[in-house]
């Protein structure tokens, strides 16, 4: 009677007892929102990377041995090149489906990184990193770094001029580190740059080390999502103690399965129609030529941009060692600050908030003006650096002087994030005030009443419960107060100075704020606002229909 599938399941269950776990898992509830799919885009593009990458390893030869090219691409006929480059050409022009797979792999890498960044933005702006998910944020952050490492090591494998230029820059950055830099470079390249050792080493990193770590950490990441349950957006009926959504099976599994094919489909479509990394145009690596328009993939572009913005003269010599600040600042300090802030932000915010509660309901970004403003200003700084990394293309496409662009962006790097911070914070506060306004007075109704005595009154329609709940559900966060410097016996308290510092940070975060409407305020507003909330409640009001917020006078109105 039983179907083969059921029989197999039963066979497995009797031997492993897996049925219970599957049943338990299948009934897990997942909240549903499009922004929760961003992590899935990352996951599916990673799966796409694994599939296409496996195909590539079958044909790619990770060797720097020199060979002479005799293949179908005329412009490289008879050129000396490494086996790595030659095998990339063979993949592109001779292996059936090879070029498509190369392009699938590279587009998937760009989309993987883009989706990681957008996923991280979602987690950041909604406060999904708060307790108990701080550790998962750290796991995610490590995944971001591993994604960068995967991209960089893969980009360098074909051994073309463009990727070689990228390696040369990394070599320069490594050498810029005082004292150990040169040793580090010799160690990495197995001797003088470029050497013979690098490509095989990068190959191991790219196909074994990094993907292995990513796979393990993605597993941990998802396990921690299940463990802590997924967060949910605020709404009536949702609290820090429940999860409202669909069961994993069948609804979520069906949606997720379908979504995998969409992600794969979009990547495959791009790979089939749009060329990416045409290494045959760049030619085999040779340290002398650097062509115009040499840039790294987009996720590394901000580093290139920082290098391009930095004035060249900033280097000095101490005790025989050159300290090239012109390289160290853009290539180490800038990413150090960016990644440092990102890695530690959940802990900094918890420290400034002084909050040890668990959070499962997400923040609306407007309700955390400092965080939202900080996030936007980091993004703006990143974007300025990306523009700086593309300065030559901006110059040719908009007929501008590259020198002017560089100067403008040097200032913009400091001014634009500051301006973005102020503007975003103002916008958040204004949106919060608008929320208060709505809760207290209701929607504008575009109806104006005129009383017999000639007084004009605007009619408001009160919010329904759901609308109101979203706008009042969050807790106000106030700056931390410092306990007095002396205890009850007048003894100087240990840790007072640290408390003062903490209170200062807390004020920075939360001094400017708009608090949600309290029940008391709401009650007060309703009792005094009765007459304008309920049209025609009192007899002496004569109704005059108004058109869309404009005043409308009747005949005897003059």
């Amino acid at each position: 009677m039983t179907s083969p599938a059921a029989a197999t399941a039963d066979y497995l269950d009797q031997r492993t007892g897996i049925g219970g776990a599957v049943k338990e898992f299948a009934r897990k509830v997942f909240p549903d929102h499009w922004s929760f799919l961003l992590g899935e885009i990352a996951l599916y593009s990673f799966v796409t990377l694994l599939i296409s990458g496996t195909f590539l390893t079958m044909f790619f030869v990770p060797s720097m041995t020199e060979v002479t090219y005799h293949g179908p691409w005329a412009s490289l006929q008879g050129t000396r090149m490494s086996e790595a480059f030659a095998s990339t050409l063979r993949l592109s022009f001779e292996v059936r489906g090879g070029l498509l797979m190369r392009q699938v792999h590279h587009w998937a890498a760009l989309i993987f990184m883009a989706s990681i960044v957008t996923h991280m933005m979602r987690v950041f702006f909604t406060g999904a990193f708060r307790k108990p998910r701080e550790l998962n944020w750290v796991v995610g952050f490590t995944l971001l770094l591993l994604g960068l490492a995967a991209g960089f090591s893969g980009y360098s494998l074909p051994d073309d001029v463009l990727s070689g230029n990228g390696l040369r820059i990394s070599d320069g950055v490594l050498r810029a580190v005082p004292i150990i830099g040169t040793y580090g470079s010799y160690f990495l390249f197995g001797g003088e740059f470029p050497g013979e050792a690098l490509i095989p080493r990068l190959f191991t990193v790219h196909i074994l080390l990094v993907p292995g770590l990513i796979l393990a950490l993605v597993g941990l990441h998802l396990f921690m999502v299940v463990l802590a349950k997924h967060t949910q957006y605020p709404g009536s009926g949702r609290s820090d103690r429940n999860v409202v959504g669909f069961p994993l099976f069948p609804v979520y599994v069906a949606k997720a399965g379908g979504f995998f094919f969409m992600v794969f489909g979009v990547i495959a479509l791009m790979a089939a129609t749009m060329q990416i990394n045409p290494v045959w145009n760049y030619g085999p690596y040779d340290p002398s030529p650097v062509s115009a328009g040499s840039q790294p993939d987009w996720y590394m572009l901000f580093l290139d941009g920082a290098l391009r913005l930095m004035p060249g003269g900033a280097e000095f010599v101490v005790g025989g060692f050159t300290v090239p600040l012109n390289i160290l600042i853009p290539a180490m300090v800038v990413p150090g600050v960016l990644f440092g802030v990102l890695a530690t932000y959940p802990f900094i915010e918890a420290y400034a908030t002084g909050d040890r509660r668990e959070h499962h309901v997400l923040d609306r970004p407007r309700n955390r003006p400092f965080r939202t403003a900080l996030g936007v200003s980091l993004l703006v700084a990143f974007f300025v650096l990306v523009l700086a990394g593309s300065n030559d293309l901006i110059a040719t496409h908009f007929h501008l002087s590259i020198n002017d662009i560089t100067w403008v962006l040097r200032f913009a790097l400091f001014l634009a994030p500051a301006a973005a911070f102020v503007v975003t914070k103002r916008m958040c506060l204004a949106l919060q005030r608008r929320d208060r306004e709505l809760v207290l007075h209701g929607h504008e109704h575009a109806t104006i009443l005129r009383t017999q005595s000639g007084e004009y009154i605007e009619v408001h329609q009160p919010l329904n419960e759901h609308e109101r709940w979203i706008r009042v559900q969050h807790d106000p966060i106030r700056p931390l107060q410092v306990a007095p410097a002396q205890d009850s016996r007048g003894v100087r308290r240990k840790g007072y100075a640290a408390d003062v510092r903490r209170a200062k940070l807390s004020r920075l975060f939360y001094a400017d704020r708009v608090e949600p409407v309290t029940p008391a305020e709401l009650a007060a507003a309703h009792s005094h606002g009765e007459h304008d909330a309920l049209p025609g409640a009192t007899a002496q009001h004569e109704l005059v229909p108004g058109g869309h917020g404009a005043l409308v006078a009747d005949e005897d109105g003059h």
């Binding site: 592109s92 883009a114 990416i276 045409p278 650097v290 328009g293 293309l393 590259i402």
Partner: protein
């Protein structure tokens, strides 16, 4: 001979020998290398005088009567027919607006007039002449050698496949995909504006032809689909965000639409 013998201990003898050596090598060189200004001698005087008229009407305001140069524009004595054919044939001359770089605009003279102008300027002093069809024939060049030469000599300004690139202060190296083989050759030979001159010693005429063979293959259909301007990773990244992530966000919103 006795005069030499008598004076061989003279203090000036080494100097004299050096002069003699220089004269001999110079003479041999002149015999072996064909004169570059040969075109001037084959053109008729009619053509030259027609060219002079055109020049006086269109060019003399900047380059001065007799093309000897003014504060506004350089002297054209000795720039040769190749420079004129390139500058006028690509629409750069007569120059118009002043800016960081003389811009290309629609060509203002027909082929005959350009030849007349070229003949006139070539008559002013010997300079590089217009290359023959044989010298610029892409079919006779080797694109692989051309690619290697292009990478070391041209790509730093013009991009790996000649898509163009930026120089300092608003100057730029243009895209080369529409440039005719003759103009490619002449650009190398005369080095317009910020571009260096690639004379016979830097790139032989065979090597120039190899480069032409490579450049004329670029910009057409490319393996792997749309070339996105052949501008490298920046344009790829832009499209990854706009098309790739754009479509996927659209799909995510669509899937998540019936939620909360």
């Amino acid at each position: 001979m006795s005069w030499f013998a008598a004076h061989r201990h003279d203090r000036r003898a080494p100097l004299f020998l050096l002069l003699l050596a220089l004269l001999t090598t110079g003479g041999v060189y002149a015999l072996l290398v064909p004169p570059t200004a040969s075109a001037a001698s084959t053109t008729s005087t009619d053509e030259i005088s027609a060219g002079q008229k055109l020049f006086t009407a269109n060019c003399a305001t900047c380059h001065g009567p007799g093309a000897t140069g003014t504060a506004a524009a350089p002297s054209l004595v000795g720039v040769g027919a190749a420079a004129v054919d390139f500058q006028v044939g690509t629409g750069r001359m007569p120059a118009q607006m002043s800016g960081p770089q003389v811009q290309v605009k629609p060509v203002q003279f027909d082929a005959d007039q350009i030849a007349q102008l070229a003949a006139y300027v070539a008559s002013l002093g010997p300079g590089p002449s217009i290359p023959t069809a044989e010298q610029v024939d892409p079919a006779k060049g080797d694109p692989a050698t051309g690619m290697a030469l292009f990478r070391t000599n041209c790509a730093q300004c013009h991009n790996a496949v000649g898509a163009g690139g930026s120089l300092s202060q608003g100057k730029f190296a243009p895209n080369l995909w529409q440039t005719t083989p003759t103009h490619l050759y002449e650009a190398m030979l005369t080095g317009p504006q910020s571009m260096p001159v690639f004379n016979q010693a830097t790139l032989t005429s065979e090597e120039k032809r190899d480069i032409i063979a490579f450049v004329t293959k670029q910009g057409g259909e490319q393996p792997g689909g749309l070339s996105l301007g052949s501008l490298g990773p920046v344009s790829e990244g832009l499209w990854a965000w706009v098309i790739g992530l754009g479509a996927l966000l659209g799909a995510a919103v669509w899937i998540g639409a019936k939620s909360s």
